[in-house]
Amino acid sequence: MTQVAAPGVMTAPEPGSGTAPPDGLVRLGPDSAPARRRRFSFALRLVIPVAVFLLWWFLTGTHVIPATALSTPRATWDSFTYLYNRQDLVGDVGVSVRRAALGLALGAGVGTALGIIVGLYRLGEELLDAPMQMLRMVPYPALIFLFIIWFGVGETGKVLFIGLATLFPMYLNTSNGVRNVDRRVVEAARSFGLQGRRLVRQVVVPLAMPSILTGLRFAAGISVIALVFTESIGANQGIGYLVAQANSLDQIPVLVVCVIIYAILGIAADLLVRLLERYAMPWRRHSAVR
């Protein structure tokens, strides 16, 4: 608590602040803000979701929005318990999560490897960068029918489809991150004898990690989007299949349940990557601004 006094005006010392500072000086004490913010942090994160829920409740309860457009929280909950008890909702979510996770692992793995090669080696960039930029611009939903023709409606095609969709954000961010690693540090490491795979593993990849994890966050989001596409066509299990079913039968509450499940999957993926960030970049814990 600091007080800035106007020139010539005496301010009464606050209780517990000790002696008054000499004329023209202000006392700057330890900052009490961080501790207070942390306590409210979790609550603040919930403010908007709770407000949206209340708004939803209010608008559907008063029929401002008709039930044919958006189901009430009550009807949605009933639909959820029905799906949970009478149908295999847990199994559907499990199948979907598995597809997204496998596809993401595939796409992120290949994307990271290609990004490192292109970021590091001139030859890699000359060979790979232009084709990757061309492929990147093809909207991946357009490829879904080709994938069904090539790989059928089984799991392989779905995982490959999600892998392709997640490849590009991973590739772009990784190659960019590797390219932007501080060249002076790499030069110093080289002059101390570090080279080849050790240089990549110990210096280049860790220093590019912020970009790589940004790519992973994008890719995690896209894996869920690609999941919706691939499950809407030629699937008989999974959340996307539920959506397609509900859509054809005009079951609004089931659609809303699925949307909420997607949102939860999205935040779960994001939390996972954040956790990974803490684990993979321990040196940033102390020096990061927040």
Binding site: R184, V185, S191, G193, P206, M281, W283, H286, S287
Partner: protein, 245 residues
């Protein structure tokens, strides 16, 4: 010109020339650093002194001529250049063969620069002076025959700089590597070096031994005379410098 012809050299530059895009920076330079000798290389900004150091380090190739340098040679750069993602002790032993890159070795080296209690810190948590001391430990831990110092004190505050100069003088006297210190600080050169070279227009224009007793302090008639001589060579004239005070 060199008087060290009888002793084994730690580094030799023979008729070294370097041009960047046709612009000549170094022209037929001959420099010898004897074993255990501390040589300071003075020069104005852009005179090519860092280029010579980088050639001796093997980071850059000369356009003409050649250098003879020991296998084990290390550099302390103007900035610490630590790898942010490695703890301090791993930075110290970076690039050493895995078998010898031990924590114990790193801690020993850190003890010499007074930072053994920071072995597990992240570089990002160190002050500028501490980081530069880690860089010094990283350079000394492999017992170089040639230690290349590229304005290692330039980015430090004045007080830290004085302490670092004392530390470097102490450690070099103890380990006796051949040292080439690149600097534009004339007093620093005279305080630390056995011999001072001035690089001017791509050539060594002055090569003078510093015969002052150690430990040295800034000041005194002999010190001032040498300093003025080097300053004059760099185009700064003492009379002009004092009258502006």
């Amino acid at each position: 010109m060199s008087v060290q012809t009888t002793t084994t050299p730690a580094a030799v530059a023979l008729a070294v020339g370097k041009a960047f895009d046709g612009r000549s920076v170094l022209e037929g330079l001959d420099v010898t650093v004897a074993r255990g000798e501390f040589v300071a290389l003075l020069g104005a900004s852009g005179s090519g002194k860092t280029t010579l150091l980088r050639i001796l380090a093997g980071i850059e190739a000369p356009t003409t001529g050649e250098v003879l340098v020991p296998e084990v040679r290390t550099v302390v750069y103007q900035e610490p250049r630590l790898v942010a993602s490695m703890r301090v002790w791993r930075n110290v032993v970076i690039g050493l063969p895995n078998a010898s890159a031990t924590r114990a070795l790193a801690v020993d080296a850190l003890r010499e620069v007074g930072l053994d209690d920071h072995a597990d810190a992240w570089p990002g948590t160190l002050s500028g002076g501490e980081a530069q001391r880690v860089a010094l430990a990283r350079a000394l831990v492999r017992q170089p025959k040639l230690l290349l110092l590229d304005e290692p004190f330039a980015a430090l505050d004045a007080l830290t700089r004085l302490r670092m100069q004392d530390l470097v003088a102490h450690l070099c006297a103890r380990h006796r590597p051949g040292v080439l210190l690149v600097t534009h600080d004339v007093e620093e050169a005279v305080v630390l070096a056995d011999r001072v070279l001035v690089l001017r227009e791509g050539r060594i224009s002055v090569d003078l031994p510093v015969d002052l007793p150690r430990p040295r302090r800034i000041g005194g008639p002999a010190f001032d005379a040498l300093r003025d001589r080097f300053l004059g060579e760099l185009g700064v004239h003492r009379e002009a410098a004092t009258s502006s005070d």
